[in-house]
Amino acid sequence: MSSYTQISPQRIEEMRALIGQRKLRDHMFAIVGLVCMLIAVLTMIASFASLLFDGWSRLTPEFFTSFPSRRAADAGILSSWVGTTLVMLVTMLAAVPLGIGAAIYLEEYAKQGIVTDIIEVNVTNLAGVPSIIYGLLALGLFVYILGLGESVLAAGLTLALLILPVVIVSTREALRAVPSTIREAAYALGATRWQMVSDHLLPYSRGGILTGVIIGMSRAIGETAPIITIGALTFIAFLPPSPVSAEPPFINFDWLFAPFTVLPIQMFNWVSRPDPAFAVNAAAAGVVLIVMTLLMNGFAIYLRYQIRKTIKW
């Protein structure tokens, strides 16, 4: 018993010192962590701010309505933002139905088994394949084997494959969030599986699916490497034929096969020129790109917040 009470004052001092040392280490780490976080965040904010500063002088209405030019001061992003819009249209039309269909199958239809396992492993793996590899696939498959050439269609399909895993994973999460009582209620009323999916699951998980689609699209908008690989031109001083026209047949699909450029490629082209005047254009194009992706992501975050607030199962 007595040994507990007989801790020498010297030993107590030692222990206090030890405790103090450990507390000091604790506080040191808190500071190190804060500093690391600030370095990462501030480096990025500073870079974005200087990008805005560099490109500000070129962000005029003419910048959006001019074709690229050999003179930096006249060059604009008309052909590239039109190209981006058309490519995104194809991407969305291809990736959204395919991704949602795949997710519905995996979440609602798939039976436990080897085929399902293989599909699941492939979806996970595809998400980890570097984007430029999709470009090589598209170069071999779309451009040459299917003969689509270096067209809007080939680019849109390439990006659709690239964002497919994103759409599948987020749609599955949205479907999983619908409680199984909803499914059981639909079945109890005699609904078939597809009736249950199309009348109940899809409407209820709409918001979550939309969030995933927007995040996927915002990734596709900034992708450069796979589009360069399929041979998108970097200097386009004309627009693809318009998809809609005033005279019959009103809608045409020539634009699908037109050569094109997109915003990130235009920016890449300007960055890699030695003339510093073009760097200003690149900065301005970069600002446009960042604003576009931030708006899309901001909208997705807002949507997610709204869903969380309104839906209470």
Binding site: R25, D26, L164, G222, I228
Partner: protein
Amino acid sequence: MANAFEGRLAHKFTRNIKERVIESILFLMAFSAVAITVAILAILVVESLGFFEHVSIFEFLTGTVWSPLFADAHYGILPLLAGTLTVAAVALAVAIPMGTIIAIYLSEFAPHKVRETVKPFLELLESVPTVVFGYFALLYFTPFLQIFMPGLPGFNMLAPGIVIGVFIIPYISSVAEDAMRAVPMAMREGSYAMGATRFQTAIRVVTPAAISGIVAAYVLAVSRAIGETMVVAIAAGLQPKFTFNPMEPAATITAYIVQVSLGDVEHGSVAYQSIFAAGLVLVVMTLALNVFGHVMRKRYREIY
């Protein structure tokens, strides 16, 4: 009466057929994921086989000169591999310590408000187009580094490596933080009850418990770093050079593919096939990493 019954049967029959058709279509959609993987491997392997008819595998794997676009063409992958590994090493030297510290800080130290503000911001960084980061590397980071290292050339592997490192920090911090937050509170409380500080708890209790998630985050970061294309293509110069010195300009596998795609390379030529051979090396590397990550996750997963 019998008619109505038969009508119902017919309705049920068509309904069942419709269900079957829909299920088959949905299955095909899901199976497209497998088809894409097979297509990627098939295209890469077929074109690479064409490439290896002209170039011996031995030269490809051991040659130290890569010059497919010159008259005196050499096809040794080692310079591209060295560039890829050097850039990835620089990136990871930045991202792994910073990402891990930020993850520990956000999960164990940061007040709720800080975490809820910083996390979405870091996740927004993931969506910024990488071509913009290429601009940063070439026009902001290289001049900045040249202040301290006057001998640094305008194109080098250091600046793109650092920039890639900074923008993959969110991949590490966000996945690792999720893994740490998944560690049950009771384990932390047990550690605090024994008199441990937050730092001791974070290092000796939470980190070991979350190690499989943290390793998964590292694997994700490595595969992003070796697959990153635009930053390197813009800021590292495009000359393949067999060097591991980050102060020198060099080309990576991805940058080489971009360089060839930008020029006029004839379909079916050896240079055309060479980008598929290079791509195959890249895919094998990322696949090996993914498998490694999967094994690590299985082996060290702690279930509570």
